[in-house]
């Protein structure tokens, strides 16, 4: 098989096909609407997340009839503030009222009178941070009461109870951007997954459209299958890149405007990573999607041939979500070098600082090399399946001689 675009006519054909794919799709009303909706959702998410305060917020109910409980509540609130946890106190008149507020979700926990002193009331599983805070404060308060009852002078009492907490010393200095990096990596993985799957699916449906409308025979009387395939992938891929760049630019701009990200350099780098890895991943997956499309003649049958590819992308996506919390896990490390999963797993590792640039280059090289191999296999299958009708078996088209490429090829040169 002669490589695509080796002749001037071949390059011209690829350019014409890719331009048609790009222009026809960007003109499509459905595409314009879905892009606008995606952008609106993205901007909405960013703006909404800028309104939520950093740190946790809890509501604690305290039984008003007990002085001890009231004072515990106040101490919890101020102890929380010191730790960056906001605890709002609302007083309740009875245990019954506390239960009602817990059930309707107004409060997260309540301190009420029990038979043997104060009891923490929660709806089901207790919110650990809040309950921990209450336990510490309550133990101190109860100890203070007990010691005061034993006649310890208030002066000694405060000195005895006011102990410094243990100092924490980290082996590695904490990354001040860790939280926002993780958020950026999450958005990046989500975007990559969406774009790879969405645009890959477009390649598959585009192939089926040409097959089901029969226009493919007309096209193949003018150009070679490999030129048609390459042009389609390049055109749709460029549109995907453009859309991704647009989304990244707007996301960065809006984030900056609402003050969510204060590290434009890092976010810019992350956006660049996502765009580059989309290109690498799309080159790999789009050929597979094209094969899936070429094996069927109707859009309804596409689901069957696409399922294996969808599963691989989905599995890669889940591994990459796992990479957000444990970027150094062995499975994640492995996945970041394997061609099908690397485009999704490598970017979060890079953004979280778990992989070195050299590793990224190696992973990209593995992906690109295997993509070259994939393209050869895929265009052979595509070329012999594209003119057949009905559901075509993979083995059958692999064995069959190519129907077209050679015949339209450059026999004379």
């Amino acid at each position: 098989m002669s490589a695509t675009g080796t002749t001037r006519g071949g390059r011209r054909a690829v350019r014409l096909v890719s331009r048609r794919e790009f222009v026809e799709r960007i003109r499509d009303r459905g595409f314009q609407i879905s892009t606008s909706i995606t952008l609106l959702i993205l901007v909405g998410l960013i703006v909404a997340s800028s309104f939520t305060k950093p740190g946790a917020t809890y509501a604690l109910g305290t039984q008003a009839s007990s002085d001890v409980i009231r004072s515990i509540g106040n101490e919890v609130s101020s102890a929380g503030d010191a730790q960056g946890v906001h605890v709002g106190i609302s007083s309740v008149d009875s245990q019954a009222e506390a239960e009602r507020l817990l059930r309707d979700g107004t409060i997260d926990a309540a301190i009420v009178e029990g038979e043997h002193g104060p009891v923490i009331l929660v709806q089901s599983s207790p919110p650990d941070q809040l309950v921990g805070l209450v336990q510490v404060v309550a133990r101190t308060a109860l100890a203070r009461d007990a010691l005061a009852n034993e006649g310890v002078a208030p002066k000694h009492l405060e000195a005895a109870l006011d102990q410094r907490p243990l100092a924490v010393r980290s082996l590695e200095p904490p990354d001040p951007h860790a939280k926002s990096n993780s958020a950026v990596a999450f958005v990046g993985v989500l975007l990559l997954y969406g774009q790879l799957f969405g645009y890959g699916f477009w390649v598959a449906t585009g192939v089926v459209e040409e097959k089901s409308s029969r226009v493919v025979e007309l096209l193949l009387s003018a150009i070679r299958p490999s030129e048609l395939l390459t042009g389609k992938i390049v055109g749709i891929g460029l549109l995907g890149l453009l859309q991704l760049t647009l989304m990244a630019t707007i996301a960065l701009f809006v984030s900056n405007a609402v003050g969510l990200l204060t590290f434009p350099a890092g976010a810019l780098g992350a956006a660049g990573l996502v765009i580059v890895w989309f290109a690498i991943g799309f080159a790999f997956y789009s050929t597979l999607f094209a094969v899936a499309g070429s094996l069927v003649s109707r859009q309804e049958d596409l689901q069957n041939t696409m399922t294996p590819i969808s599963l691989v992308i989905l599995a890669s996506f889940f591994v990459s979500i796992g990479a957000l919390s444990s970027p150094d896990a062995p499975l994640v490390k492995l996945a970041s070098f394997l061609p099908p999963s690397a485009p999704l797993a490598m970017p979060p590792r890079l953004i979280l600082g778990s992989a070195t640039p050299a590793q990224a280059v190696l992973s990209a090289a593995i992906s690109i090399a295997s993509t070259v191999g994939m393209i050869r296999i895929a265009s052979r299958i595509y070329a012999s399946a594209i003119l057949r009708t009905g559901r075509v078996g993979l083995r059958e088209v692999w064995r069959s001689r190519r129907t077209t490429d050679q015949a339209t090829g450059v026999r004379s040169t």
Binding site: T7, L16, V216, L219, L220, L387, R402, A407
Partner: protein, 296 residues
């Protein structure tokens, strides 16, 4: 001139083409006829490079066809197909460019084409919104837009009303007069007989007859005469020696002459039976030749 030389192709165990050779000279309209499954579409696809031949060669202007030459061919596949959601004019410009027209030639050529074929006011609409008849016209425009050196049309007349047939015939005639060889397949044999300069008859993957219509019609060994005879006694036809009745109609019959029988023998017998009002030597129609060679 387009030449197919000993072209063969099999699909698994089925031999679709078995050493097919024929040619379409400059300025000729060639009808490509044969029963269903004879190999017409396969042969056309091989000419266009959509399929590959197992053996044999397609030659254009004396040289093996290459991609460059094929780009200058115009094709209408049997399975009609255009991008349903793409606008008519955009589609024609795109196809014109794939066939080698540049960015300024293609739009002009596409406009010219839709004007000639009579769909100029619908060119901004997607193809799927056009009537079937108009879609057919756009399909023809797709084959013509780049001003091809050769036209290959698979069943171009199927589904056309008589007016459509006349329009298409006129368009193809113009192409032929401009020196473009036109090859088309059809089941409408009367039409082929009427408009083609030559015919290639194919059956079971082989060319069973080819040549100009005149050659084909006079080629057969059968000699037929047609006689109209007023007030002859019923059954007189059976009395004619050396000839056999192959068709009877009111007031006359068609005879096939045996080996040495001269046509006069039938005329003399008819004169004896009644008043002869018409007498002619009949050449077999394409349909008759078709039946004969396909059955034999």
């Amino acid at each position: 001139m387009l030449e197919l030389v000993d072209v063969s192709r099999r699909f698994r165990d089925v031999v679709a083409l078995d050493g097919v050779s024929f040619s379409a000279p400059q300025g000729q309209m060639v009808g490509f006829v044969g029963p269903n499954g004879a190999g017409k579409t396969t042969a056309m696809r091989i000419v266009l490079g959509v399929l590959e031949a197992d053996r044999g060669e397609v030659r254009w202007r004396g040289r093996p066809v290459d991609a460059e030459a094929r780009r200058r061919f115009g094709y209408m596949p049997e399975e009609r197909g255009l991008y349903p959601k793409m606008r008519v004019l955009d589609q024609l410009v795109y196809l014109g460019r794939l066939h080698g027209l540049d960015a300024t030639e293609a739009p002009a050529a596409a406009r010219r084409c839709v004007e000639v074929l009579g769909v100029p006011d619908r060119v901004r609409e997607p193809v799927q919104q056009l009537s079937l008849g108009n879609q057919q016209r756009v399909q023809l425009a797709a084959a013509l837009v780049h001003g091809p050196d050769l036209l290959v049309l698979d069943e171009p007349f199927s589904g056309l009303d008589p007016v459509g047939v006349d329009v298409l015939t006129g368009v193809l005639r113009e192409q032929v007069e401009a020196g473009v060889p036109v090859v088309f397949s059809s089941h409408q044999l009367e039409l082929v007989e009427r408009i083609c300069d030559s015919v290639v008859l194919i059956a079971h993957g082989r060319v069973v007859a080819s040549g100009s219509i005149e050659e084909l019609r006079s080629r057969g060994d059968r000699r037929l005469v047609r006689v109209e005879c007023a007030d002859a006694a019923p059954g007189w036809e059976e009395m004619v020696a050396g000839a056999r009745v192959i068709e009877r109609f009111t007031g006359g019959a068609v005879f096939e002459l045996d080996g040495g029988t001269p046509p006069d023998a039938v005329l003399d017998a008819a004169r004896g039976a009644g008043t002869v009002t018409a007498f002619s030597v009949v050449r077999p129609s394409l349909t008759e030749i078709f039946r004969e060679v396909v059955a034999g």
